[in-house]
């Protein structure tokens, strides 16, 4: 898939140009914004908006062997041996690893697994010039982790209700935070919010009646 650059006064105009070029609706284009451009002051320092666009619609199935190959390469270079099966589910590629040394590939709190998943996604995006969601799992770790985390969230939720004091959990990545938020979402007596900066934020579970702390970063993120 080849990307081409388009320009316009605004990004919208640039996208229109791209659509005119390919003769398709904007939904059928993969669009990357290179620069948004600026109006400048009194016409000075004006710059055009620039985008890169390409046609969408390459069959996703062709990505499966490639994704599998990338992960196999990574694991092999790590000095591990594993069997990988690839499958597809909606817009996501699922890679399952079977190995003797699952613990090593999972890592502390799934860190190694997350790192592998992140890198495979990145490499795949680089090779195919498109963003595809990749999920990597070892021995159903993700499902087990999800359950354990939801269980933990409920347990702390009960504790907060009993004591009436907010509890701050350890820093977690966005996926894990989402699990916690969702687990407690239905509970009217509790509220959850993420606090902190960067990728790893802390979830604060607090009782609804008593306000706990400032709401500097409310809601799931």
């Amino acid at each position: 898939m080849e990307f081409q650059e388009f320009e316009g006064k605004t990004t919208e105009a640039a996208i229109e140009n791209a659509c005119a070029h390919f003769q398709v609706a904007p939904e059928q284009l993969e669009i990357e914004i290179v620069s948004v451009g600026s109006g400048g002051i009194f016409g000075l320092g004006r710059s055009k908006a620039k985008i890169r666009a390409a046609l969408r619609g390459e069959p996703e199935e062709s990505l499966l062997p490639l994704a599998q190959e990338i992960l196999e390469g990574l694991i092999e270079k790590m000095g591990e041996s594993a069997q990988i099966t690839a499958g597809q589910e909606a817009d996501r590629i699922n890679l399952k690893i079977e190995t003797e040394d699952a613990g090593l590939l999972i890592g502390k709190q799934g860190q190694t697994l997350d790192a592998l998943q992140y890198l495979v996604t990145k490499i795949l995006a680089k090779k195919t010039r498109r963003k595809v969601r990749v999920s990597i799992d070892v021995e159903a770790y993700r499902a087990r982790h999800h359950q354990a985390l939801a269980h933990l969230a409920l347990k702390y939720g009960e504790k907060v209700k009993r004591s009436g004091k907010p509890i701050t959990l350890d820093p977690m990545n966005p996926y894990d935070r989402r699990i916690v938020h969702l687990a407690l979402q239905g509970d009217k007596d509790l509220k959850t919010m993420s606090r902190g900066e960067g990728l790893y934020k802390k979830v604060v579970i607090s009782p609804v009646r008593k306000r706990g702390g400032q709401e500097d970063a409310a809601g799931p993120s």
Partner: protein, 76 residues
């Protein structure tokens, strides 16, 4: 270990031929130096160092297997 870093870095950059990886082996800890083309530096570091961190995580996992420690240094 060197091959692992090279494999990842080459897959991420625009100029794979300019990826250089040097391994300085110590008794317990080896230092792996990664050098890429200037315009590719951001690609191996990533947003808020996320790519670099992912590489380091995988590197430490791989090195525990051989009972060693490996440190990744990205050279500018």
């Amino acid at each position: 270990m060197k091959e692992l870093v090279k494999f990842i870095a080459q897959a991420l950059v625009d100029n794979p031929d300019q990826v250089q990886v040097k391994e300085i082996e110590g008794e317990q800890t080896s230092v792996i130096e990664l050098k890429v083309a200037k315009e590719d530096l951001g690609k191996v570091i990533g947003k808020q160092g996320r790519t670099a961190r992912a590489m380091r995580t995988i590197l430490s996992a791989a090195s525990t297997k051989i009972r060693k420690r490996a440190v990744l240094e990205i050279l500018e």
